[in-house]
Symmetry: C2
Subunit: 275 residues, 2 copies
């Protein structure tokens, strides 16, 4: 039997390997290496610079968690911006909310979009919606040009290395604040509390810019072991004051209004890490 | 530089490797292979049959979660039994509760206890307490001989293979039920909802034997990726009706009364798995 594996080095001292049946696609874009592989444990997986971004088996955990929490905090989200997220998984969840009128997807690497459209249709199909404007431009620059125009901004980017380095800086979060309407809500993935060196600084940066801000957690099998964090920043709305009825007609596999509240309950060591 | 790793095969298609600096101990006991290694990412790690059981860096997540939830459900736990748990980590957490008078530790493999005492003193130190009776006997047989004598029974065993195979059967859970007092509380680790083949059956077995029963979750970096489950069975006490004041003088790094409630909130796909 063929014995093919792909190995992801989460840290210098810790690596994870998944068996693969096929390499469906590989290319070097101007920004990164893009690969799609098929794995008996994960389904199809999208790798950017050899790091698993999303898989057909587990994408719902990450995408539902990054999307439904900010969209439920806002009582009526209409205009949404996604930075990164070229696989389309976040857009798929955003469009489940009937109030949403437009989604601007700001993905620096158009090859990620094209590869996802071709090889990951279950995840990327919403990119073809009329409500979605895809802009293959630099999210940092675009953010500076926006002012008070979005209800929701979601930063669905890779960890801080390569093109996403500055997406965790306080300057960028200030631009996000300005790009949001007066009652806007922002979220970014902020890495592993146990293994990512940028977790604490990213959370603190968001907390310094937004009046209401807090990390919340999920646990996604293909990311660095242990909990995975997101941090939400809200200009006006309380983070746990949601209307559960809005989920009655929205189909999910992970998110529920109870999960919304539970996700913000942090283990003591993570609370203490942030002090 | 030396490039030594230990690799754990979580499934046929998925393996995790941690760098190690030293193999501190290795032996074959009559029951299993026991190893202690030093790892830059994990501190010291105890491996049974090449599966990480506990590490000095992350043991608090598992041990606090398996212990404080059942001990807080019971209003005044005095007599506690632990099946397995030869590393002493569960006993360490149990003895933080001032009401506890005795802990019977039923560990089939006395070499696990001796190795833990020697190489993992930060985890195993409580095994030397006067309140602890260590019995190196078969937990299955011992359970059959007990009747209405424990407030709490904790099954802190390896996954179902080797000596712990029958510790997930309905027959065993019936014996646990009988060994508990009329208001007793039971918990067992029940594996990974995403990757362990025994998760669903073990939870259903416990739910059929105990009138009040539910799984709850944590996320421990050294176990199979994603959430890790425990299932509690209670004869009388509600699972979330706890007195937070009891934790005022108990030092923890993971557990809080808010975590107690949040841990029982299951993502929708795990709820559906159990239907």
């Amino acid at each position: 039997m063929l014995d093919f594996w792909f190995t992801e080095h989460h840290t210098d001292n810790y690596k994870v390997s998944w068996r693969m049946d096929k390499i469906l696609h590989f290319e070097k874009s101007p920004f990164q290496e893009i690969a799609v592989v098929e794995s008996p444990e994960l389904g199809r997986a999208l790798l950017l610079d050899n790091i698993v971004q999303t898989t057909t088996k587990f994408e719902f955990i990450y995408h539902e968690t990054i999307v439904h929490i900010p969209l439920m905090i806002h009582p009526e989200p209409k205009r949404v911006m996604v930075v990164g997220g070229g696989d389309g998984g976040a857009v798929k969840e955003i469009l489940k909310h009937p109030s949403v009128e437009t989604v601007d997807l700001i993905e620096i690497d158009e090859r990620v979009i094209e590869v996802s459209k071709k090889w990951l249709p279950e995840i990327s199909h919403a990119l073809r919606s009329d409500k979605v404007n895809i802009m293959t431009i630099d999210g940092l620059k675009h953010m500076k040009q926006c002012s008070s125009q979005y209800d929701i901004i979601i930063v669905d980017c890779t960890d801080p290395s390569g093109p996403s380095m500055d997406l965790f800086s306080k300057d960028f979060y200030r631009d996000v604040y300005n790009a949001l309407k007066d009652d806007g809500v922002f979220v970014s993935q902020t890495g592993s509390p146990s293994f990512s060196t940028h977790f604490k600084q990213a959370v603190q940066n968001i907390m310094e810019v937004f009046p209401l801000a807090k990390p919340y957690l999920t646990c996604e099998p293909t990311y660095i072991a242990g909990f995975w964090s997101f941090t939400v920043g809200s200009k006006k709305y309380q983070l746990d004051n949601i209307n559960p009825e809005r989920m009655f007609n929205i189909e999910t596999k992970y998110y529920t209004p109870d999960i919304h509240k539970a996700a913000f309950v942090l283990p003591k060591y993570i609370e203490q890490l942030l002090k």
